[in-house]
């Protein structure tokens, strides 16, 4: 073994990589860098970053009923909800204030898991950096509300499951209502 042969072999490896970086594709061992702001990797469906509120058809038709479960379960307590009242002061089934402080949120996704009304889900939005840490990162109800179509778009599998479950529940409810009606009707007919 002559002096320096191992070094020459090592130099060969680096030179091969040097030239390969110019003409080879990433799969063949070329450059695999994705230059982020211009190009980006596709986001995985289960990727989760910050919650949003789902509404059907119009923003007034939001699924949230201001039950406050997510606010109670939230570990860093970043959700703040105030229930809406009508003119007579009776509580309505929707929030008047729904704030999420993104500086506090830790993206755990517990709000999504505990919500019994399928109203809150984790988003794919991650470029929310802002120079103002007080107002810009405190998201209010209008910022949080997003249509069901958006949910379908970013998480097609999850959204399909949720929609199927909701449809089933609705049909069950209708059937139950119908059954109650027929029962009541039968009771009425019974002469006694």
């Amino acid at each position: 073994m002559l002096f320096g042969m191992g070094i020459l072999r090592g130099l060969g490896v680096t030179l091969k990589n040097f030239f390969a970086s110019y003409y080879k594709k990433p799969e063949e061992g070329g450059l695999f860098t994705v230059e982020y702001p211009e190009k980006r990797l596709p986001v995985k469906e289960r990727f989760r970053n910050f919650p949003f509120l789902v509404y059907d058809t119009t923003p007034e038709n939001m699924r949230c009923v201001a039950c406050d479960i997510c606010a109670k379960e939230c570990p860093p307590k970043c959700i703040y909800i105030v229930r809406d009242n009508d003119e007579a002061g009776r509580p309505l089934k929707k929030p008047a204030i729904f704030d999420i402080d993104f500086t506090v949120c830790m993206n755990c996704g517990i709000c999504e898991e505990v919500c019994p009304f399928d109203a809150i889900y984790m988003d794919h939005e991650f470029e929310i950096a802002d120079a103002n840490r007080l107002d810009a990162l405190l998201y209010n109800l209008p910022d949080l509300l997003k249509p069901n179509d958006y949910f379908q778009k970013i998480r097609p599998n999850d959204a399909a499951q949720v929609d199927a479950r909701r449809l089933e529940a609705e049909e069950k409810k209708k059937a139950a209502v119908a059954a109650v009606k027929t029962q009541a009707a039968a009771k009425d007919i019974k002469p006694e």
């Binding site: 002559l2 002096f3 990589n17 040097f18």
Partner: protein, 378 residues
């Protein structure tokens, strides 16, 4: 095209000569050369940093800087602005004079060396008849300045780096100077211009002694300018940044500048001494020179992208136990080649060199203990 820059300078001098007295013309002739050298030194350094980052990036399957300007071409400018605006910190116990002088003085020899480098036909700023001696004298003063920086910082890491640097540079100076002796034997002059002209027919690297001398000179040169794999004086993982640990901002940039300019002059001198300097067909002479120099600089970056840092004893061993004997044998081989001449001389030089190379490899082989065999009890 060949004399482009020479003609430009003459044109400028003629223009000055129209309205200025003779002494001003000769003064401006000097100033133009000096200005060109200084500007070239800074420009080369700036773009060598970019080239180094790009080349090493590609070798490591990265892209390298490409954000500032097209292909990152403005990156050195951005770096310079950043360096200039950084805070200049002088440690309290430091020797303020030495700490201030070291970064200033380290650039001076690096720039002075440029004077004797023949950048092309008729393009040596100062064709000294002792050009090569001047080069060695100038490049070895760098050692003193580096030790000055290490000592003046009053920092243990910096002193260690300075001492390592002195040990390394003095060791590698010896085989470096000896490897040039065959060239002097063959040319009979220390002038860099004469050495280039002597290679009109045959580059020295194509002779057996020339090849070995070229490799020895280049390796020693890499060690002289503290580049990887011989970057012990500034080994990040061991002694922070070595002698320039305590320098920040522009002072740090000056050390970097000197290092890159030294690397350039080592590559330029290797090209001059062994690769025929500006000699070459078709292309203009200065382009040939730049091509050769930058290929050698690429090799330096290639080394850096490939090799891990040597241990101190390995580095010393390479200089004293391998390169020095080989350089001495090389002088004998060159003498034989020149004395006998023709194929007989060529063959004898080749045999002597290859024989001693193999012999030295055998002697220098590191001790690997035999693999133990363990017999397990039943």
């Amino acid at each position: 095209m060949d004399q482009l820059f020479v003609n430009l300078k003459n044109m400028a001098l003629h223009l000055i000569g129209v309205f200025a007295p003779d002494w001003l013309v000769s003064l401006s002739s000097i100033l133009i050369s000096v200005g060109a050298m200084t500007f070239l030194g800074i420009f080369i350094m700036m773009y060598l940093t970019l080239m180094e980052r790009k080349v090493i990036g590609r070798m490591q399957n990265r892209i390298g800087p490409n954000r500032v300007g097209k292909w990152g071409l403005l990156q050195p400018v951005a770096d310079a602005i950043k360096m200039l605006t950084k805070e200049d910190i002088v440690p309290e116990p430091a020797d303020r004079l030495l700490h201030f002088l070291a970064p200033v003085m380290i650039v001076i020899p690096a720039l002075l060396i440029f004077a004797v480098i023949p950048f092309g036909r008729n393009m040596t700023a100062l064709d000294l008849n002792v050009g090569l001696l001047y080069f060695f004298a100038m490049s070895s003063t760098t050692t003193m300045v580096i030790f000055m920086a290490g000592w003046g910082s009053r920092n243990k890491y910096a002193s260690l780096g300075g001492m390592r640097s002195v040990a390394q540079m003095i060791s590698y100076e010896v085989p470096m100077v000896l490897s040039v002796v065959p060239v002097l034997l063959s040319v009979g002059s220390l002038s860099t211009g004469k050495i280039v002209e002597a290679q009109a027919d045959l580059w020295f690297v194509l002779t057996p002694w020339g090849f070995f001398a070229c490799v020895i000179f280049f390796l020693c040169g890499v060690a002289e300018c503290n580049r990887s794999p011989f970057d012990l004086p500034e080994a990040e993982s061991e002694i922070v940044a070595g002698f320039h640990t305590e320098f920040s901002g522009m002072k740090f940039a000056l050390f970097y500048m000197a290092e890159f300019m030294n690397a350039f002059s080592i590559a330029a001198l290797t090209a001059t001494l062994f690769l025929g300097g500006w000699q070459g067909p078709l292309l203009p002479s200065w382009l040939w020179f730049i091509l050769k120099t930058y290929s050698l600089l690429f090799v330096m970056m290639w080394f850096r992208g490939t090799l891990p840092r040597l241990r101190a004893d390995q580095m010393m061993g390479l200089a004293w136990k391998f390169l020095l004997p080989l350089a001495l044998v090389n002088i004998l081989a060159a003498g034989l080649h020149l004395y006998l001449g023709g194929p007989a001389g060529f063959a004898s030089a080749l045999i002597i060199l290859l024989g001693s190379f193999m012999g030295l490899s055998k002697v220098n082989r590191s001790y690997v203990p035999e693999k133990r065999e363990y017999v397990l009890a039943d």
